[in-house]
């Protein structure tokens, strides 16, 4: 190849490289509070992203209306991670270096959130797990810049184990989980909690997401005479488990983590959703609700009507908790941001100093040891029946 062409190729290379990095403008110094929002916009977890986005958009609009002309405006910077850790890391990298956000909400999937933690920790950036439930984010040690606004796995595992083994006296529990960074550790924690109560699970089966036939796995559990099944998985795979159980004539109760409270589960199964239970925030289950919960529900209904998270009825249904988590997370963040005047370096300390913040799902206080917003007191057991989730009973382990 002649030098002419090599030179041309080199020039093209250089030009392309310029394009790549030219996006990184000089540091932004406005009164715009930029908050990153990362999650999958398609796939089985996309419904959570959508729930969060609706609430967060509502919160940002409220904030901007209140603070217009008073020094601060909020702006959301969204990134799609397609539930892929590499893209999640890239997205967070971009948010940190290029978009210069002052806080990041998400990624949604625990398996994608986890590897992004070192990036935000290194940058000293406030990182909110408004949906990530992996225990390790806050226990046994609180990661300095990570704060969780969700129901952590360990709480669910304890709750379910205690309810199933102690309250219901189930001794032959068969466990089945999906092969993801959500299902696998979740199921493992559940089995550990059972063991701590002196009960051994009679089986631990796994399946790949979107697998259509679980006969082999369920048969093994059936042969072990399971008196109940616990599933830890995302989305519609849980419905596949239930169908498989019914086909094999396994007439035993099915319990699941709070991922069972998803529109998909009971609309897909319809009548077949009987005898299924889970644990969830009971904020919208109670006959009487806190003023904050009511206020949020009304605002949400006014803006979005009977969407899939509010539900079809006049009263909001359980799923409204998902947007509520995001709502609390961003409101706490914005409050703290105003306090420190949008300085990203002070956000973490300010969040940790948060006391008695009036959230929708509870009053939020953080300490250096506790980065879980909701503690563990407000979960209950739901019956995920054909009409959708209903409160079965309040229970605390």
């Amino acid at each position: 190849m002649s030098a002419h062409r090599i030179g041309r190729a080199a020039a093209i290379l250089a030009a392309a490289m310029t394009m790549l990095t030219a996006g990184s403008a000089a540091l932004a110094q406005d009164a715009v509070l930029k908050i990153g929002f990362v999650g999958p916009y398609s796939g089985p977890s996309a419904e959570y992203t959508e729930a969060g986005k609706r609430a967060v958009t509502m919160a940002v609009d409220e904030f901007n209306a209140a603070w217009k002309g008073k020094g601060f405006q909020a702006e959301l910077v969204e990134k799609d991670d397609v539930s892929n850790p590499t893209r999640g890391i890239n997205a967070v990298n971009e948010l940190v270096s290029r978009d210069k956000v002052i806080a990041i909400m998400g990624p949604v999937n625990s398996g994608v959130f986890k590897p992004t933690i070192p990036v935000t920790t290194e940058a000293g950036l406030l990182h909110l797990a408004w949906m990530g439930q992996d225990t390790e984010f806050t226990r046994p040690v609180a990661i300095p810049n990570v704060f969780r606004f969700a129901q952590p796995n360990f709480a669910q595992a304890k709750q379910l184990a205690s309810y199933m083994a102690k309250k219901k006296g189930l001794k032959r529990i068969g466990v089945i989980h999906d092969n993801t960074a959500y299902g696998k550790p979740g199921a493992a924690e559940f089995i550990a909690e059972l063991k701590a109560l002196g009960v051994d699970a009679v089986g631990d089966e796994s399946f790949n997401q979107r697998d259509t036939d679980l006969t082999a796995q369920l048969m093994k559990l059936k042969q072990a005479n399971a008196d109940s099944i616990l599933v830890w998985a995302i989305g519609n795979d849980q419905a596949t488990v239930k169908r498989g159980m019914l086909k094999l004539g396994m007439d035993v109760p099915l319990y699941g983590a709070n991922s069972m409270v998803s529109l998909g589960f009971w609309t897909v199964l319809g009548d077949m959703a009987k005898n299924t239970y889970t644990t969830y925030f009971d904020t919208y289950a109670m006959d009487t609700r806190t003023p904050n919960a009511n206020a949020f529900a009304q605002k949400y209904f006014k803006r979005y009507g009977n969407d899939k998270y509010y539900g079809p009825g006049k009263d909001p249904y359980f799923y409204l908790v998902a947007p509520a988590q995001a709502y609390d997370a961003i409101n706490a963040t914005l409050k703290v941001a105003v306090e420190v005047k949008g300085d990203p370096k002070k956000m973490v300390a300010a969040m940790q100093a948060l006391r008695d913040f009036p959230g929708v799902l509870g009053t939020v206080s953080f300490t250096p040891e506790n980065h879980d917003a909701y503690g563990t007191a407000s979960f209950s057991i739901l019956d995920v029946g054909p009409q959708g989730p209903r409160l079965l009973e309040t229970y605390k382990y």
Partner: protein, 291 residues
């Protein structure tokens, strides 16, 4: 054990159907359509979507689902396969282009379908469970197995005893020669794509009946369907069905007796082993190249 066998046969029947769809196209055009899984997926998704959210009757949505897949299949032939004819790119050409069309279909399906959930339509049997010889078989499993065998029989009849079948086979042997004899070869190739897409769509509809539908549906099953076709010998419909049933049963048995982790790997390992020992497949014929 029998229970597992039945499950395996039901799962395998879907693989068999996909294998048939690969064969239908390959027999006439010598092309393996890398977008086959995606054709299955859009046939299934359109059917489920129309049924669920537009309340259309199954007599309407089934033909529509199949029709969409056929149209897309014809487009694939027109855009990704025909232009390559005589360009000398060889197999690599249509491997890349059909793969490209598969990616387009998948991406488009993602964008259109988004994060929706479709309830299990139950349009082919209400999931009632029948007990035969102590084995629990659900209606739709029986349906799937019977449907695939019926389709196989129908295809064989058409191939052997009708002019169309003979024309398709003639085009497979030698396109130039077929033209000389008056067979419109390009139209035969297009027809084979239509046939293959239709079969894939039927597989998709059958699948949506028993599984959760999503744009991801096509990827794994496309690969396993090919493994089934190759296992049985590309070009032999009976071989493809055999291959599919073998893989289905092997998967279920493997998951039960060994570990659920190897389920996905089984199809590939079988294919690997077979192609090392007998590249022509179980029922395939060795092709001798003239030097």
């Amino acid at each position: 054990m029998l229970q597992l066998l039945v499950s395996g046969l039901a799962v395998g029947s879907i693989y068999a159907l996909v294998a048939l769809s690969y064969n239908a196209i390959f027999r006439t055009s010598q092309v393996v359509n890398f977008a086959q899984g995606e054709l299955l997926m859009i046939g299934g998704l359109l059917t489920v979507g129309l049924y669920t959210w537009f309340g259309m009757s199954i007599w309407l949505v089934f033909p529509l689902g199949v029709g969409l897949a056929v149209v897309v299949g014809l487009l694939i032939e027109r855009l990704a396969v025909r232009p390559l004819h005589g360009k000398g790119a060889g197999a690599h050409g249509w491997i890349v282009t059909t793969m490209g069309t598969g990616i387009i279909i998948r991406a488009a399906a993602f964008i259109a379908w988004g994060s929706r959930d479709a309830p299990m339509p139950k349009y082919l049997g209400g999931g009632r469970v029948v007990h035969i010889a102590g084995v629990a078989v659900s209606e739709d499993e029986i349906l799937v197995i019977v449907a695939v065998l019926a389709i196989l029989a129908l295809l064989e009849l058409v191939n052997r005893y009708t002019i169309l079948g003979k024309a398709l086979r003639a085009t497979a042997c030698d396109q130039e020669m077929a033209r000389l004899v008056g067979i419109p070869a390009p139209r035969m190739v297009a027809a084979s794509f239509a046939l293959g897409s239709g079969l894939a769509a039927i597989g998709g509809i059958l699948l949506t009946n028993v599984a959760v539908s999503s744009p991801y549906m096509g990827i794994d099953i496309g690969l396993k369907g090919f493994a089934a076709a190759a296992l049985g010998g590309l070009g032999s419909p009976l071989g493809g069905v055999l291959g599919g049933l073998i893989i289905g049963v092997a998967e279920v048995l493997g998951a039960f007796y060994v570990s659920s982790a190897i389920k996905d790997a089984i199809a590939l390992v079988l294919l690997f082993a077979l192609l090392m020992l007998r590249p022509a497949g179980l029922l395939g014929r060795d092709v001798i190249e003239k030097v």
